[in-house]
Symmetry: C2
């Protein structure tokens, strides 16, 4: 399952179109679920998803890129299931993802998401925490209410995944408290796998479960999503340092100014180079001027953190493809999943 | 199903013994579940349940009164089920309850629980939020992993209940923001039913489900728990104003000093009496001296808020007993549930 650059370009367009179709398919169901929430929480959730402004008036914003529901539906189809059957699982995974966004923004004190003030910044911390809680419960209710024979196993997998997401977020917070010389690349990779890989793996596994797949296929699908998720995180970390603002809504260098120990940064810090020492010194300081942030970005680059992240992302993608070929031996059937995985790892281009 | 005062005294001792037995039965399972959480969250959870001190050393503290797991197990037994079968549900309900405690303490900025600093006060807001999230996911996983035929319906009920708990907590927060003349007793009762009645109802319903009860019995059990829960909340609100500190760990007048619009307070505020006006004036001020708090408590009393709460608690108990007699016509089989309900509404004596 190797790809030429022409294939890749085609897949990129295909993936973008697939994500758009997924958004169109999933949004009515997602919106119906969110609209079932009691009043106060509904308003916070509608704002968070970009469907309403802070004053409750309608907004036409996008509710994110729909990568996770797209993975659920594509995994179900790749294994002979249909989209309609897996729709509840797709909505549940998207709700669980947005539960983590609501809480992570509170915990990380992030003021901006998708080019708008975060929910806690608009409605306060209590409303953002409570709405996140309700969104997680709603995700679980969708699966529990489902009569599909796999819904119990799907629910167990989603719960286990949420615990791993929490562990990842906690490890992330704990790492931020530590000094720049006190974090290993291994624990950073474990944290990133928990924070990002787990839910992408869960999305693929739920799609497989709803297609009636056996445990071996479900496990391989989980592996595919996890490895692709780590590749995705590596690219996201690169974007967090080098842009681009227009597409992500994040200011350039934001992760550095926040002293985030993202994967490229930790790879640089643990490189034993002169640039590593310079970066560590900057991380010990306030790093609140554009000049310092730019110097930190240059140090990550010179210490090899940028190259390492790009090579590591490619390696993880190779592992993802290997898992995928085990779950879905027919390359034609695996096409959509592969296109999605390639798409998320080419976001910087 | 009427009771003499002698019966009631006997039931009180029985209920206390029953709660102690429940704690002994449930704690090993609860602890095993909590110990399955990844490291950082396990530590916060072990502290929250009173099993560890802040430094991780063992503590012998009590993990609360076990009313909810006792209701699950007693409801299962009352309907011909056994305790072992319903144990997962009992643990799940207790975890869901403690998830709300962790988050509510963050949201309400409460610094003390069970005579100790709250989890967020010791470990910070991020760890308390994340650990609460993981505890909810753990509750759901216990039900999802269960092979009992009712586990799917139990999971759906618990999820629905959590959404109602969130709605109640949000309504509570929203009410705190409003002026003392701007809250009706009806919305206050709805809020209290959501915040407290819903989970006690859910506990009883889950016990019934695990005993293989039909939907009518499950619904009646839910009604029993809900009404008993509202009675419980009314008594808890009275304790929040008039004590007693030694048993609850709450300072006398704490709810008044916090300007809480608890049920007796809102009943007083909406009474149209001179005392109501005095109370409203105190609520509009800072109320940060013991003298002001004492005057507020006296005003609630004179405005009839204290009597109303006691009469309303008795009325709700009567409704609870009516629901119970529908679910479990045999008074002997209903004995433990009745004893538990009577116990929680006699906590002030």
């Amino acid at each position: 399952m190797t790809m030429t650059s022409t294939d890749a370009a085609t897949e990129g367009h295909e993936a973008a179109a697939l994500l758009e179709r997924t958004r169109d398919l999933v949004d009515p169901h997602l919106r119906a679920a969110v609209e079932s929430l009691p009043g106060g929480m509904r308003r916070v959730a509608m704002y968070h998803f970009g469907w309403q402004n802070a004053d409750g008036s309608p907004a036409s914003g996008q509710a994110g890129k729909a990568i996770r529901p797209a993975l659920v539906l594509a995994a179900a189809r790749a294994l002979g299931g249909d989209r309609e059957t897996a729709m509840r699982a797709a909505v549940a995974v998207e709700l669980a993802h947005n539960f983590t966004l609501l809480h992570d923004d509170v915990i990380d004190e992030d003021a901006t998401r998708r080019h708008r003030p975060t929910a806690w910044a608009v409605f306060g911390v209590p409303d953002a925490v409570i709405t996140g809680d309700a969104m997680l419960a709603l995700a679980q209710r969708l699966l529990a209410d489902d009569t599909h024979p796999a819904s119990g196993r799907a629910s167990a997998r989603l719960s286990t995944c949420v615990i791993e997401l929490c562990a990842g977020q906690q490890a992330d917070c704990a790492m931020e408290e530590r000094g720049p010389d006190d974090v290993t690349l291994d624990e950073c990779l474990t944290m990133a796998t928990a924070k990002t890989g787990a839910l992408l793996g869960c999305a693929c596994a739920l799609g497989a479960l709803y297609a009636g797949a056996d445990e071996r296929e479900v496990g391989a699908m989980d592996g595919f999503g996890r490895e692709a998720g780590l590749a995705f995180q590596l690219i996201d970390d690169l974007i967090g340092i080098w842009g681009d603002t227009a597409r992500t809504g994040k200011p350039v260098g934001a992760d550095l100014a926040a002293h985030k120990k993202s994967l490229p940064v930790v790879a640089a810090l643990t490189s034993g180079t002169a640039a590593a020492a310079e970066l560590a010194a900057l991380y010990r300081g306030a790093m609140n001027t554009p000049d310092e942030v730019n110097r930190a970005a240059a140090a990550v680059d010179r210490a090899g953190g940028r190259d390492w992240a790009q090579v590591c992302a490619a390696d993880r993608m190779a592992r993802a493809v290997h898992h995928l070929s085990r779950a879905v031996p027919d390359p034609a059937a695996a096409g959509d999943l592969l296109a999605l995985a390639e798409f998320v790892t080419r976001r910087t281009h």
